[in-house]
Symmetry: C2
Subunit: 347 residues, 2 copies
């Protein structure tokens, strides 16, 4: 159909470039469409004191997960967790989800029940209701798409834009664990394929493997911020990696960020496993992805509330240098941070 | 992982049985979750005078569409049309959509632009805003999932339940065209594969092919009903076929339906093409699917407003015989109507 026309490869744009390119000619006609493409969730204003938040995420077997080491129960949990995480990234509360699954007939009912058990456990954990969805056959493998619907008080909404100069850059939890967990799982899969019958050696890596297979969206962070009386100036969840998310915040807020290498929070398992794999732990923390922690900025006045909080680490601050993202080493040397993100369309 | 356990095939349940089975153990915790699984759209009550409506639909290449005869522009339009149709089936207005596409790297940017052009045309036609989504790689082929968000005044909400005895059963437009259009397209594809270079013979079938490739969700019907001062007692959109939808309405409303064979509205192209294919036009109208017309019931008092309306046909009425669905022939003979629906998991 397109043989005689110019052909541009999708990999030339990457995921973010592609979405921006495809949607740039669209314009909104409904006054209720307050914020569309370009944040963690869409923001809808139907009147009243709250906004409606809406986000969708799809995961495909062979692209986003590998069923040879991802138990279906954990996968169901992860799908919900990653979807509600987008609502939390707007400082909102997730309330409802829709689940659309597609699967080939290689799956039995018992397998799908496992998947839904994980979805149910996540629904209970995050206090969201499954209110609908779609179940269909797929030509190959399993895919699961979760749409999350939430609300946020109008005066509590946090976008990617809004960081001011010198605002503190804060991250919840720790970084890089999900990525290193994946490295362990892929290594053990390779061993198993080469030596069928070999038992996987996962000991000592429980934490990082758990972070990969069953990430926890940070509902608690939204509640803690509320209790502390803090509304972040901007926020995003870490799905593609700290480096990528810092770029998003900076580009949307019109600022730069300085991040201090020695401040990056990492679990000892991440550091030791990175060394085993000959990887630089800082690079893992910056580009790992799938942490589903929240990354946000707060005004300097909140420093005392944040600095010793066990759930938060101040890793840097916003600067007036637009789109300049720097990693500051112990010696004071500064390196430019590249956005990696996921490049699903490569090769 | 499941080798040693009982294995039940998905095809043993079918799509509707599967969803019901998987979601029966879920319970809601949020008061705002008014209506969940089991209608065209979920109904959310965030306060105020309106409900929020939410629905999602996914389409997979090789299951729901065939790119050898489905132009990408039409496919984008169809994906939006089928999604907003679920909002109209609740008597609501669609306002926003999220689009999640997954595609393999066989697709070029120009191809995806065509798809988005169709999405854009549909957004303009149905006055909905594209407010977000997800774009990712797929292991095989193209899939497109559209989530539609809408609103409805609380006193205008129409569910699948609510039909009363003797309520008139009404359908918009005509039936069976999308199915017969698909038969033509598949026949011409077969001819082409057997005789490469052969030109497809689509003449005289433009209407039914258009109904398959580019169905129109009936936003106009929601507006007309409002102008006529009619709130249907129950409503559904025809995606799986009249027979299947009548069952849904009857089961949810706790009634039966008598449908009159001679009243079924069909375009002459449907009748003549059905005869060419040795198909009974009535069976096509009952089981064809993908018409995206609205099927609803109204109280007898509205008979005068409906009976000669060019957009509507009264095809039968609700009865007190629970779950008895009958087709009444010209002679007065009654036949039981079987629900066919789509059986994606078969074979």
């Amino acid at each position: 159909m397109f043989e005689n026309r110019e052909r541009t490869e999708l990999s030339d744009l990457g995921e973010f470039g592609l979405i921006e390119h495809l949607t740039k000619t669209f314009s909104n006609v409904n006054a209720s469409s307050l914020l569309g493409v370009g944040d963690d969730a869409a923001v809808i204003d139907n009147g009243g004191d709250e906004y409606v938040l809406l986000s969708t995420d799809a995961m495909f077997e062979g692209v986003h997960f590998d069923l040879s080491f991802h138990p279906l129960k954990h996968l169901g949990y992860k799908a919900v967790s990653t979807a509600v995480s987008d609502i939390y990234a707007m400082n909102g509360q997730a309330k409802q989800i829709l689940v659309a699954i597609a699967l080939s007939n290689r799956f039995s009912l018992e397998a799908v029940e496992e998947l839904y058990l994980g979805i149910k456990i996540a629904c209970e954990k995050f206090s969201v209701d499954l209110v609908g969805g779609d179940t269909t056959a797929s030509p190959k493998g399993l895919s699961i798409a979760v749409t999350a619907l939430g609300t946020v008080a109008k005066n509590k909404l946090v976008r990617r834009s809004g960081a001011g100069e010198n605002d503190l850059l804060v991250v919840s939890g720790d970084l890089g664990a999900a990525y290193m967990g994946l490295q362990i799982l892929e290594r053990e899969k390779k061993v198993f394929l080469e030596h069928p019958g070999a038992q996987p050696d996962l000991q000592g890596h429980e934490y990082i493997i758990g972070r990969q297979l069953r990430p926890e969206a940070r509902l608690d962070v939204v509640k803690i911020l509320d209790e502390l009386g803090i509304v972040p100036s901007c926020m995003i969840d870490i799905s593609d990696g700290l480096a990528s998310e810092v770029h998003h915040l900076g580009i949307h807020s019109g600022c730069g960020f300085d991040i201090y290498d020695e401040k990056l929070p990492m679990d000892p398992q991440v550091i030791s496993t990175a060394m085993d794999f000959d990887l630089n732990p800082t690079v893992v923390a910056l580009n790992g992805g799938e942490d589903y922690e929240l990354l946000f900025t707060v005004a300097q006045e909140h420093y005392e509330k944040i600095k010793n909080h066990p759930d938060f680490t101040i890793i840097g601050h916003a600067t007036s240098e637009k789109n300049q993202f720097r990693l500051i080493g112990k010696s004071g040397a500064a390196f430019e941070i590249q956005a990696q993100g996921w490049q699903h369309f490569k090769g």
